[in-house]
Structure formats: structure tokens, C-alpha cells
Amino acid sequence: MLEVKYLHAKVGDKEILRGIDLQVNAGEVHAIMGPNGSGKSTLAQVLAGREAYEVTAGEVLYDGKDLLEMEPEERAREGVFLAFQYPVEIPGVGNTYFLKAAVNALRKHRGLEELGAKEFLILVKEKMKLLEMGQDLLNRSVNDGFSGGEKKRNEIFQMAMLDPKLAILDETDSGLDIDALKIVANGVNALRSKDRAIIVVTHYQRLLNYIVPDYVHVLFNGRIVKSGGKELALELEAKGYAGIEEQPELALTMNS
């Protein structure tokens, strides 16, 4: 579904991604781990189409199409979803209006009829149960005045509403207490399916106790330096990233 080849990206003069190779197939859950500054969030943002990052080399194929050529809204309509590390507060734009506009933009793109107010509400209520969200969040402005936990829950709620093919969760666990973490993880697990691929970007192994990945990749200094199964996450938890940082030659073996 997703093929990332030799991806390089920079912001300003600073090169952040320095040759990422990654293949993700439908039905798989991949975890991308790494220390602060390794490029995890940059990778997530580049895949979603953030213009602040300039891709300098490499390519990304999504369902065989050139993802990097697409506008952010086209990627979303084609089924790419990014759960933001820092969801943006948008005062004055109602959460419900925003969701309906988004759902219908996607439906229109897929040749489906736009949802009316009533059908939309039925869908909303169904998905809200998944995330154990209160109705009041819908009546507020997008993320405006939401707690950290509410914002993250709202991201996964949006994911449930938009039904993406490829979901990228950028540090969805950060700042969550254990109860909120479980709710978010349950929501994500309910959305696992053979047609959907999920990339979980995280600093800590904790989330992976609840969302168990098929593959784990370690990102360091803009490159994936190690890949493995779910046990790799436990290994990292035990040893920390220090071990990885000390063997830069590993990067060469991994990428060649």
C-alpha cells in the first residue's frame, strides 16, 4: 500500500530525513520508534503533505500513485489520515460542521452521495461510543479548550469517521494517562482491519502494549536503523535508545 523509497526531506537548511525506506502493506500495523529529533514526526508530516518540509530526494508510492505529487486534501480524500501530535485548536469552527465537511469531501471524492444531517448524526453517535466521548465535545469549536486527552481522543474519533486506508498516528500516546491511553488504544484496535494499514509513531513502548504492532522500526538521525517484530520494542524499552546511538554503522548495514 505504501512504499517509501530513499526519502530525504529538510526544513530550511536542516536535513531531517536522510534516506527512509519503508514498505507497509494493507492489514499491517507498523510502529516507528526513535529518540527525540530522530525524524519521526517529520516523516508523519511529510506523508500527510505538510508544505513546511521540502522533499529533496526519494519517492513515496501510495497504492502505486505518487503521493508526494498530491495536495494534502487529495491525500486525505484518497484515504491517508494523520492523527496529529499537536491537534490544532480552531476557535469559531464547530466540531460538527468541520467533521461533516470532511466526511462529505471524502464521500464526494469517492463518488458517494453526501450525507444529510440525519445520517451524519447517526454515524457520529456510533463512532463516539467507540471513543467514549461526550456529546458536548461536538458542540464546541474544533479542539478549542479541549484537554490533551480530549484532543487525542478527538483525533481517533476523526479517524473512525473518515475511515482511512492508511492511518498515521503521530505520538498519539503522549500526554495521556493510562485510562485515556486504553480508550484511545481500544479505539485504534477496533479500527484494525485487513484493508487498513496503520503506522504508529511513538517515543515510548508503552502504547505498543495496547496496540500490538506487526513490525517495529527504529528511526535514528533521519534513517531507519533497525527493523524487527514486536519484540524489538521490548528490547528498546529494556536497553533504551542509547545502544542504537552507539552503533551508527548499523545504519549502513540496514540501508544497503
Partner: protein
């Protein structure tokens, strides 16, 4: 060589024509007020950008057009159905319609009022209500220095007169609809409105200024509001003149003890627009709120000047103006708060926010606090910014197109002011006006669905 008349002379000549036309048909006391006003105007002349109050707004384009005063009442075959788009759907209200500045009996809907209450044309009330009208017109609510107020007074012929005695609550809003029709020649009208609200009385006044067609004309309006003790007045002004029109208007409010005045000024139309709002809190406990929203694009210029006089102690004022400027539009906001030496315990707050949608749009914003008392709370803040790029990306990442995302955020910026409108059909009307062409007409539907 033909001698070129200067712009002031044009108006002076028109004044002479008016005097001749009115000869004998107008009460002498009003003629005196007119004459005093024209001589003030003649001494003062039109403002230039050397005048501090007109520093960023040149009226030169206005002076290039020799506007002709409207001769008499001309309905031009105007029918109620042509006005339907300006009447807020099914809003239950008392409506006074003015066509090119003249009261139209047939287009208005005034219902019988209890004795003592008067809602109608000021021209018709000059004789019957002289004792109420004369002192206010003569005083000009302290706006003598404003050349356009002087001009308005000199050419005073018609407008609305609302008089509520003490203890009167008018349930329906009073809608004053000023319609300009285009004609071969560019015309000028000088509507003059006087609203006197007695002690403990309450009313909502909606002034709207609309152009029926495109075309250049000049509206020079003055509205005076006198709020008695404990009076509660909600005032709305919707300015939707034609895009070639000139609109200069002063709203002067005088507030007595514990009165509460709220103004909502929405400016969307006009080529050159200047709104002055002056509120004088002249007795303890008076409170005023000035909300404003202006939206300009292309070559439009919209200038909002406000002045709040805290003349007595324990008064509060809240001011919140927002502007949205696109294209080459220019905006001016000047908010003066004058706290007189006597006005201890004043609580004044002013906020002005401007959204610039294009790199060539400009705003001149200036808070002006003059404080001559020592125990007061006065704050002001001004921000100028662009749309939040993070928010745009967030919306786009959910499948919303770039243009829609920008429109949605622009609407959200304005909604802060729109949501303060207390009369639902007017709020819906303003929302609609903002959303026109923005493909966001579902907002209301979604809001209601929940």
C-alpha cells in the same frame, strides 16, 4: 476660461437651492438650525488628510463627483417585493422605509402605537414634537466639529423619529431601511434620525443602508440616540451600500444614569465608508458595548472611528471590532476612550482584531486612550494577522480543500462578532451575507441539527 467651483461651493450652492425650494414650507426654527450648520460647514470645509481624524481617509474621491440632492420623494416604482431581500425573512418588526432619504409611507409598516409613543418620519414630526426635536438637533450631540454632521444638519429634510415615553418596552425591533436607487445622476441623501428613549424603556433599533443597484451615490447619515435612565437600547447597523457608493455616517449616543446601550455595526458594502460612533456615558452606572465587523475587498476603504466619553464615575464600556480585508482593501480603526477627570472607577475595554487575507490589504489601527482620572481600569489590544497556516493544514489534512479551508477560517474569525447579534433573523441574515459565495451555507443546518 470657466471658473471652476470648488467642492465646498457646490454644496453651498445646493443649500441655496434647498432654501429656495423650502421657502415658507419649513418651520423657522429648523431653518435657523440649518443656516447655523451651513455656516459651520462653510468655515470648516471638507476634511483633508492633514486633519488628525481623517489622516488615513482621503475624501478626495467623494469630492470629484458633483452629487445632486434628491429633489423630492421618488419611489421609482419600487415595490415591497424588491425590498424582500433586505427584510430579514419573516422578522416581526415595525419598519420605516426611506427611499433616497425620503420616508415612504406605502413601503413602511407602522402599527398603531399607544399615545405618547411616536415612530415615524422626522419631517412629519417637526411641528408636533418640536420640544423634543429642536434641542437635540441644535446640539448635534456634541459633533459640531464633524464637517459631515454639519452638512447633514444643513440639508436635513427627513429621517426617522422614534420617541418612547418612560416605561415603554417595544417588543418588536424597529427597522429603519434606507434604500438608494440608482439614477442617471449621482445623488446625495442626508438621512437624519433621532431616537429618544425614556426612562426604563427598552427598544431594539435596526438601521440598514442598502443599494438597490450598482452605481455611485452618497449617503451622509446622522443618527442621534438619547437614552434615559435605565433605558436599554440594542442598536444594529448594517451597511450594504452598492460597491460604488460613498457612505459617511455618525451615530451619537447620549446615555443617562444606568442606561445600557449596545451597538452592532456591520459594514460590508461601499467604495468609501466612514463610520463614526460616539457614545457619551453622562451619568453614573451607564454601560455601553460597541461591537463592529467590517469586511472589505477590491479597492474598498472602510474607516471606523469610535469615541467613548466616560464623563461620570462607575461607567463601563466594552468595545470589540473586527475587520477582514482582502485584495487592495484598506481599513482604518481608531478607538478613542476619553476618561474625564470626574470619571473614577471607569471600566473600559477595547479590542480590535484585523485579518489580512492578501499581502496588498492594509489596516491602520490606533487605540487612543486619554485618561484624566486616576482610579480607572482601561485596557486595549490590537492584533493584525493572517489566517493560521497550521489550522489550514489541519483542515486540508481532513480532506477540506484549500479554498474552503480559508473561507471556513475567515468565517470563524467573523463569527465571533456575528454570534453577538441577539435577534436570530438578523444574525442569520448577516451569516448569510458573510457566507454568500463561500459555499458554507450548511452552517446553520448543522447547528440546528444538534
Amino acid at each position: 476660461m470657466v471658473e471652476v467651483m470648488n467642492e465646498t461651493d457646490t454644496y453651498l450652492a445646493n443649500f441655496e437651492l434647498l432654501e429656495r425650494k423650502l421657502a415658507g414650507n419649513s418651520p423657522p426654527w429648523i431653518n435657523r438650525i440649518r443656516k447655523a450648520a451651513i455656516s459651520r460647514f462653510s468655515e470648516r470645509g471638507f476634511p483633508t488628510t492633514r486633519d488628525e481624524e481623517w489622516k488615513f481617509t482621503s475624501v478626495a474621491p467623494l469630492l470629484r463627483i458633483p452629487f445632486r440632492p434628491v429633489g423630492g420623494y421618488e419611489v421609482d416604482g419600487l415595490t415591497p417585493s424588491q425590498l424582500r431581500r433586505f427584510t430579514f425573512g419573516e422578522l416581526d418588526c415595525i419598519r420605516l422605509v426611506f427611499v433616497n432619504g425620503r420616508f415612504s409611507d406605502e413601503l413602511s409598516s407602522v402599527r398603531p402605537m399607544p399615545s405618547g409613543t411616536k415612530i415615524g418620519s422626522i419631517a412629519a414630526a417637526l411641528d408636533s414634537h418640536r420640544e423634543w426635536i429642536e434641542p437635540h438637533l441644535a446640539s448635534n450631540s456634541g459633533c459640531q466639529d464633524h464637517p459631515f454632521v454639519a452638512l447633514n444638519t444643513a440639508f436635513l429634510e427627513d429621517g426617522a423619529f422614534v420617541y418612547l415615553p418612560a416605561g415603554k418596552v417595544v417588543e418588536q425591533p424597529i427597522h429603519l431601511l434606507f434604500v438608494s436607487t440608482s439614477s442617471e445622476e449621482a445623488t446625495v441623501s442626508h438621512p437624519r434620525n433621532l431616537i429618544v428613549v425614556g426612562d426604563n424603556s427598552q427598544v431594539a433599533i435596526v438601521e440598514s443602508y442598502v443599494g438597490l443597484d450598482e452605481g455611485a451615490y452618497f449617503t451622509n447619515a446622522v443618527t442621534q440616540i438619547v437614552a434615559g435612565r435605565n433605558a436599554v437600547i440594542d442598536h444594529y447597523k448594517l451597511q450594504q451600500e452598492s460597491m460604488e457608493a460613498f457612505h459617511i455616517a455618525t451615530l451619537a449616543v447620549h446615555q443617562d444614569r444606568s442606561s445600557n446601550f449596545t451597538s452592532h455595526s456591520i459594514s460590508l458594502g461601499g467604495a468609501l465608508v466612514r463610520n463614526d460612533v460616539n457614545a457619551r456615558l453622562d451619568a453614573e452606572g451607564a454601560e455601553c458595548t460597541l461591537n463592529g465587523l467590517y469586511m472589505a475587498a477590491g479597492q474598498q476603504l472602510i474607516d471606523n472611528h469610535t469615541r467613548i466619553d466616560h464623563a461620570k464615575p462607575h461607567c463601563a464600556s466594552h468595545e470589540f471590532y473586527k475587520g477582514i480585508l482582502d485584495g487592495n482593501a484598506r481599513g482604518v480603526f481608531n478607538g478613542k476612550i476619553y476618561v474625564h477627570p470626574d470619571a473614577q472607577k471607569t471600566d473600559a475595554k477595547q479590542t480590535n482584531k484585523t485579518l489580512l487575507l492578501s499581502p496588498t490589504a492594509t489596516i491602520n489601527t490606533k487605540p487612543q486612550l486619554e485618561i484624566f482620572a486616576d482610579d480607572v481600569k482601561c485596557t486595549h489590544g490590537a492584533t493584525v494577522g493572517q489566517l493560521d497556516e497550521d489550522a489550514i493544514f489541519y483542515l486540508r489534512s481532513r480532506g477540506i480543500g484549500q479554498k474552503d479551508a480559508r473561507n471556513l477560517l475567515t468565517y470563524a474569525f467573523a463569527n465571533d462578532i456575528v454570534s453577538r447579534i441577539k435577534i436570530p433573523p438578523i444574525r442569520a441574515y448577516v451569516e448569510e451575507a458573510l457566507l454568500a459565495g463561500r459555499k458554507l451555507s450548511e452552517v446553520q443546518e448543522v447547528r440546528e441539527a444538534l
